[in-house]
Amino acid sequence: MEDRTLLPRGMVREAVRPLDTKSDLLLLIDNVVDYAIFLLDPNGNVKTWTLGAQRMKGYTAEEIIGQHFSRFYTPEDLATGKPDHELLVAGEVGRFEDEGWRVRRDGTRFWASVVITALRGPDGELRGFGKVTRDLSERKRTEELERELMRRKVAREAAQSAEERIGKVERRQRDAAQFLADASAAMAESLDYGATLRRIASLVVPRMADWCAVHLSEDGAIRKLTVAHVDPAKVALAEELESKFGPRPEDAGGVAAVLRSGMPQLYPQLTDDTLAAGARSDEHLRALRGLGIRSVILAPLKAHGTTLGVITIVTAESGRIYSDHDLAIAEELGRRAAAAIENARAYREARAAIRVRDEFLSVAGHELKTPLAALQLQLQSLVAAFGGNVDPRQMSKLVQRLGKTLGQAERLESLVNELLDVSRISSGRLVLQAEQCDLAEIAAEVIERHSEEVRRAGSSVAFEQTGDPVGSWDRGRLDQVVSNLFANAVKYGSGGPIAVRVDGDDAERVRLSVRDHGIGIAHADQARIFGRFERAVSERNYGGFGLGLWIVRELVAAHGGRVSFESSPGEGSTFFVEVPRKAL
């Protein structure tokens, strides 16, 4: 049985007679549909033509025979001299193979595989070329389709992957935004920033970290506020580590460095070297290694350029590696936490200020009511007693008692002035009237004016003056300074002797001291006695607004001078005033 599969289908039916090799070969050449097989003369002119060639290229034998084969080529190929090049190569090496665009008679193009074979006679003479062209358009189309499909697939996959990546970024950003929003909400929950930062730490773990610690800088020390980890046992371990090896202000790196620089630190992959550099001892290093730390971020809690603390976030078990993105989130978290701390502190200060003010108002009310009570009783009693005719014999009594009401009115006036002084000084509206005056003279007047109180207190006054204590000052205000200090000495002097000394020996400055031997000032109170609305005697038992020393300090400062004191509880106090002669 013949192996029909070797022959084109069309030929099988006709293969009923024995094959005439030559004519049947021509028949084969003519009938091969997908191939154009023809001969070129040595110059490249078409010598033979077939039906297959006609089908493929659209030329009839009459049209094409004798024509140069270059007309099958595209103008681009003609421009580069490709047909001649192909013949040259085929002539040189015997064969030229190519795949490329060819042009049909109607100008349309098809993708062709071309083999040009040099045909030489027995003497080696070039007799021409055999050219076999195969229309690969279908294959090309299929390939192109496949390529297009592949390209689309790749593009789709790329798009998918890009989408995924974009989705991931978006999701990450959304997560970050949500996380920060949650943190902000937590911060708004409470004005106790300790509680707030603990809440934030519990948000950071486990959403962003396996560990989170917050440290605050307070009075030059570093205070650990919180440590969080999902595992309570690990928290205990961290607390222990913290108590043994917690950050110290003098540390070269870590929390202390971030506190100093205000710059965040990111260790995407913490190395053992870094760990070793930060460890304080072998025990510390072993403990740090035991934590299995992978990635670390230290972000400053920064508000108004001040670094209030540091939030440290660490990954270990999760194996997560921090990126710049995480650093940005941590920094933002730090900024928001710092703002929360600032708010809480401002709130606390405002609360304290309001409490001090309320206490002051209570004291002020009490102080104003006392002379008012005396004044009112005296006047009501006077009206009752002298409402009708005044007995001339009672006249001196009446005048005496009216004098007392005047005293009460003056006392009220001085209290009101004191309040107005605070307002004037606080708002910077204090105006000093310069005149040449003598501090010794002022002191002597003050002592004289308080002689009744001194007598009542059972005290005695020793006054001493040296040199020439004159200067250019506001006389009324310096009188107020000396009055306040002297009245305090009488009030808190426990009836002991009071010494007033004015020293005018120095060419530039004049000094005054007022010394008592009374209750003194407790060490704990010494720092705040010059504060506004403050007084050392907290029970408010000694009368007055408690504004006196604050006013004294402000008035002396307005003269370019200063006030100081020495005091021992139970032994008394000495106040010193020093003012430049040419103050104003």
Partner: protein, 136 residues
């Protein structure tokens, strides 16, 4: 005066305890004007001192805020001493919480500074019916 003459154990003196000189001075004038006899102490310690040496007053007008020994400390000391524990005490103070403090220390009442003369005399007459002499 005889402070222990059986039927009239009261001395009909009003004891004013106040650290403010002007208040003491004014009350001296006013109470004298109203026909009361008064004694004065500048704080709780002075008041206890007075009570230890003098006949029982019919009433004590007690200021609240005083140095050394304030109203509360005075009341504590007074209640520990049976001889003077039952002398009625009326707080006379500018303290805004005079009412609750009065209850807290078991005072007979309280008067707020500034006090109306009529209110003051009415309270004094109530506690010291025999104290009023002829007004001057």
């Amino acid at each position: 005066m005889n402070e222990h003459n059986g039927q009239n154990e009261h001395n009909d003196v009003i004891l004013v305890v106040d650290d403010d000189f002007d208040i003491r001075d004014t009350l001296a004038d006013v109470l004298e004007q109203e026909g009361f006899e008064a004694a004065f102490a500048a704080d709780g310690l002075e008041a206890l001192e007075y009570l230890s040496r003098n006949p029982r007053p019919c009433i004590i007008l007690l200021d609240w805020m005083m140095p050394r020994c304030d109203g509360a400390a005075f009341r504590a000391a007074q209640s520990r001493n049976p001889r003077i524990a039952d002398i009625p005490v009326v707080l006379l103070t500018a303290d805004v919480h005079a009412d609750t403090k009065s209850v807290a220390v078991g005072a007979a009442g309280f008067l707020r500074k500034p006090v109306q003369l009529s209110v003051l005399t009415s309270v004094l007459r109530q506690h010291c019916p025999g104290a009023v002499q002829s007004p001057s």
